[in-house]
């Protein structure tokens, strides 16, 4: 019978120690990964996992990631919406892990909308 041990948790805490503690303040950037049945079947989980890895490396504490359900744009799933404060939300479609990393590095971190992947401004 095995379960996650205190030793496991200590190791996780050590590996993920960072200088800024995560504040629960208002986020400047919200990223929504759509995770309805259509999104999941199309590969949204891989997009979410890639996003989490990029966020871990970026060490930013003003970005929030949320899941939402199907937005009825099923044929273009996986879809991701990026909302940066004071900018128009951008709806990205046909996302995969690689495109998510690119959108994160260029749009989320540097403000450069990746128009090739975007369907619309919301």
């Amino acid at each position: 019978m095995a379960k996650l041990t205190i030793a496991d948790l200590k190791r996780i805490r050590e590996k993920s120690a960072r200088e800024n503690s995560l504040r629960n303040g208002p986020a400047a950037i919200k990223i929504t990964v759509h995770m309805g049945t259509c999104g999941i079947a199309a590969g949204a989980r891989a997009v979410m996992n890639a996003l989490m890895e990029e966020m871990a490396v970026s060490d930013r504490d003003d970005i929030r990631v949320v899941n939402s359900g199907c937005q009825s744009m099923c044929s273009s799933e996986p879809n991701v919406t990026v909302e940066i404060r004071d900018s128009e939300p951008i709806f990205y479609q046909h996302m995969d892990a690689n495109k998510m990393r690119q959108v994160f590095k260029r749009h989320v971190l540097q403000g450069e909308v990746q128009t090739d992947f975007a369907m619309a401004k919301m």
Binding site: M1, A2, L4, L9, R13, S16, A41, N49, G69
Partner: protein, 184 residues
């Protein structure tokens, strides 16, 4: 779906839409009985009686964007394809339990896939919900419970992506060890 862990993610999302604050998941692999069962129990608002009569009917749904909900009907089809079945118990106001069974060795039975990735997505995306996961293979078991993690290490933030990345790796390692362990 390509992996059973994606069905797991999908059914848990149903529990989350039903307002659950605790979701318990079990994966049970019994190679001697040649069965694989996935169950998800939530403490959400439960299913209305007309849905319970025919749970795999995609047109009876609580969704409002479109009056079609595919998750349960896709899962039901997957179980039927593998000599299994879908069993649902629900009590309005108390919660719902979905149990999907499959013949383990059936050629059409999708692989379990990346369960750690599914758990990571759920834990990170739902800070106010607790998740308990138990995986049994032939008498060996691995479990995790976010309530225990929070109690044992309250300063570990489960929303911190760095923590989630390392937690995912730890779960993956534990599940690989579980799969390689000799049967009891």
């Amino acid at each position: 779906m390509r992996e059973l862990s994606l069905h797991l993610l999908d059914i848990v999302e149903n529990g989350l839409s039903a307002g659950a604050s605790l979701i318990e998941m079990t994966v049970e692999e019994d190679r001697r009985a040649d069965s694989l069962t996935i169950s998800v129990s939530d403490n959400g608002r439960g299913m209305p009686p007309e849905k319970l009569k025919n749970p795999a009917d995609p047109f009876i749904t609580s969704r409002t964007v479109r009056r079609v909900g595919l998750g349960l009907s896709l899962l039901a089809a997957a179980t039927r394809r593998c000599n299994g079945r879908l069993v649902i118990d629900s009590l309005p106001g108390k919660g719902t339990k979905v149990s999907a069974s499959f013949q383990h060795s059936h050629i059409d039975r999708s692989p379990l896939g990346d369960v750690a990735g599914t758990l990571a997505t759920l834990i990170m995306g739902n800070p106010d919900v607790d998740f308990a996961y138990t995986h049994r293979i032939d008498g060996n078991e691995f479990s995790l419970d976010t309530r225990e993690i929070k109690a044992d290490m309250p300063d570990l933030s489960l929303q911190d992506p760095a923590v989630i990345v390392h937690l995912t790796e730890t779960i993956r390692t534990n599940l690989n060890q579980l799969a390689a362990a000799p049967s009891q």
